[in-house]
């Protein structure tokens, strides 16, 4: 893919030499809530985001995870300039979002999975044509980029269809295109795969990987879909109750919570629970047993094979879903930052 930006076409994903795309220090946002019956309202201050420090470098794909109400969307709104932070320092693409919102809009692409920027009553093509004027993209660049995105996201069959008649997956692809036609350096996605079927999800994930790999577009996404995380994100930031609970690689996240690997052993014949050093039997179903490992798998396998006849075995990594759930419950071994 070629880009509207001159520098991006050949820029390596690492974007060496550039400053951070997102720099947040001690970012926080409070809301004042009115509660109680009509005549006896009380005001209460709640902190949606209390203290988030985050640096995202060019070319990174960062997953921003957290349970509902953790402060994900509030952070996204502050990053894009539509919510003014109560405290902290924030620069995105070299600008201060809430003060320079309209300028920032030209440098970033934003997709909120549950909202659309497309014109409901008009063909998809019309909404996409409008972005050329919106971002002042030269006509030739716009046409070339639209052609590329049309091909990659397979928009051809429904470009002439009014947006209200598109399926959710089609609409999402249209929204992604609208957010990318001006060649933004940073793409912010709030739940981009919500409600999509497996095929649509996969199309969008592969597209995002390609965009990141070929253009070096930095991507920050929130999601509840841990498939997105495992497929896309080298780095994840977990936020819980307005604070950063984890920031680092996906592997590190697995290591940070006590979610051991499980060895599933099929023995030649049913026996009582296997007892070997470095493993604990957690479940027995006929000849099949589940062993939670606390030692090197190879050593445990050797010990089991010594004592029993093994027909088959598989090693299961803890899935990221379980890890994040454990992290939300506060079982983390300790907050880690790289």
């Amino acid at each position: 893919m070629t880009s509207v930006r001159e520098s991006a076409g050949s820029a390596p994903p690492s974007g060496a030499g550039e400053g951070p795309v997102i720099e947040a220090v001690g970012l926080g946002r409070d809301f004042v809530l009115s509660e109680g019956p009509f005549l006896r309202r009380r005001r209460r201050v709640v902190s949606a985001v209390s203290d988030v420090t985050l640096t995202v470098r060019p070319g990174e794909i960062v997953g921003y995870l957290g349970p509902n109400g953790a402060g994900k969307s509030s952070t996204m709104k502050m990053l894009t300039g539509i919510l003014t932070p109560t405290r902290g320092h924030l620069r995105v693409a070299g600008l201060e979002p809430s003060r320079q919102r309209t300028r920032l809009a030209g440098r970033i692409g934003v997709v909120f999975g549950q909202r659309t920027t497309l014109w409901w009553d008009l063909p998809l093509r019309d909404s996409l044509a409008l972005t050329r004027h919106l971002y002042r993209v030269p006509a030739a660049d716009h046409a070339r980029r639209l052609a590329e995105l049309t091909e990659l996201l397979e928009l051809g069959p429904f470009l002439a269809t009014p947006v209200r008649q598109l399926s959710l997956g089609q609409r999402m692809r249209g929204d992604l295109t609208a957010a990318l036609l001006h060649g933004p350096r940073l793409l912010v996605l709030d739940e981009p795969t919500i409600g999509l079927d497996v095929v649509s999800k996969s199309t969008i994930r592969e597209f995002l990987l390609r965009l990141n790999g070929e253009e070096g577009t930095t991507i920050l996404l929130t999601t509840h879909d841990l498939g997105d995380v495992e497929r896309l994100c080298e780095r994840v930031v977990v936020i819980d109750r307005g604070r950063k609970a984890y920031d680092g690689g996906l592997d590190g996240l697995r290591a940070s919570v006590p979610a051991p690997r499980v060895l599933v052993v099929d023995l030649a014949s049913p026996v009582g629970p296997v007892r070997v050093e470095g493993a604990r039997c957690v479940r027995v179903e006929g000849p099949r047993q589940w062993l939670e490992l606390s030692d090197n798998p190879a050593a445990v396998i050797a010990r089991v094979a010594d004592r029993h006849e093994v027909a088959d075995l598989t090693l299961r990594e803890p899935d990221i879903e379980g890890v994040v759930a454990a992290l939300y419950r506060g079982e983390a071994a300790g907050n880690r930052t790289p």
Partner: protein, 266 residues
């Protein structure tokens, strides 16, 4: 400006989608216009002259009011902005590199242009067939009426924009519409020409912005000397002042609203 032109064209085009609604709207305007005009004829049969208006003036203003109803949207529909503030979709509007006011003004002018051609003209034409309407003989006065209509749309847009913007503070603009949607048309002279009100009240209503939406354009059309300064230009000047003042207020309030913005929904 190019983007605003593009938004204007799209605002116009999206309304062409709803043909049945357009036809139904014309029918409603004509029926209400006919009922209202019949009442006026009965009233003026008893008293041929009321505060400078005669039967022809009143019936003409009734049909001008019905014709302009969709153009100036004084009884609604509200700008979609309000619904978008309520649902939080305004977030995507704020993510565009253009001002909120300019975007919605361009969209609303597109809507108004469509309504002028496909709601106002047919409605007024039906009025012409059914009743003896007073038409200006002077081509300049037709031109002045067109200018006055454009100014009326600007004033009406600015008012509706301010109603919706209040949603940023109130979280919901429906309460404002419940009041404004009722009192606005009365103050505008849509239900009853302002000269039929008690003179003291009429004088107050005449200088409020709502009068600039229907009453002033009607008086420009009828060439009344009750306009400010007694001339058509005076009427246009009053409208222009309101348009400028309210649009400035809208621009200022937009800055305030978006700085303390509460974009709702996750």
């Amino acid at each position: 400006m190019r983007v605003h032109r593009a938004v204007y064209v799209r605002g116009l085009r999206r309304h062409t989608t709803y043909r049945a609604a357009t036809l139904a709207g014309i029918l409603t305007n004509c029926v209400f216009g006919a009922i209202n005009a019949t009442v006026m004829l009965a009233l003026f049969a008893a008293r041929p002259h009321i505060n400078g208006y005669d039967a022809g003036d009143a019936v003409t203003q009734v049909f001008l009011g019905q014709a302009l109803l969709a153009v100036v949207a004084v009884m609604g529909p509200p700008l979609e902005l309000g619904e978008r503030v309520r649902s939080g979709d305004v977030a995507t509007d704020l993510l565009r590199p253009v001002s909120l006011l300019g975007w919605w003004l361009a969209e609303d002018l597109g809507r108004a242009t469509f309504s002028l051609a496909f709601r106002a003209v047919p409605t007024f034409a039906v009025g012409l067939v059914l009743f003896d309407l007073v038409l200006p003989g002077d081509p300049l006065r037709w031109a002045a009426t067109l200018v006055s209509t454009v100014l009326a749309v600007l004033v009406s847009f600015a008012l509706r924009y301010l109603y919706e913007l209040a949603g940023f503070w109130l979280l919901d603009s429906r309460g404002i519409w419940a009041v404004a949607g009722l009192l606005g048309p009365v103050a505008a002279g849509t239900l009853l020409p302002l000269p039929l009100f008690p003179p003291a009240l009429a004088e107050v209503l005449r200088v409020l912005p709502w009068a600039s939406i229907v009453q002033i354009p009607a008086e420009v059309f009828l060439g009344k000397d009750s306009l400010p300064g007694g001339t058509v230009l005076g009427g246009l000047a009053l409208q222009a002042c309101w348009a400028a003042a309210l649009l400035s207020l809208g621009a200022w309030a937009t800055g305030r609203a978006t700085r303390r913005v509460v974009v709702q929904g996750g």
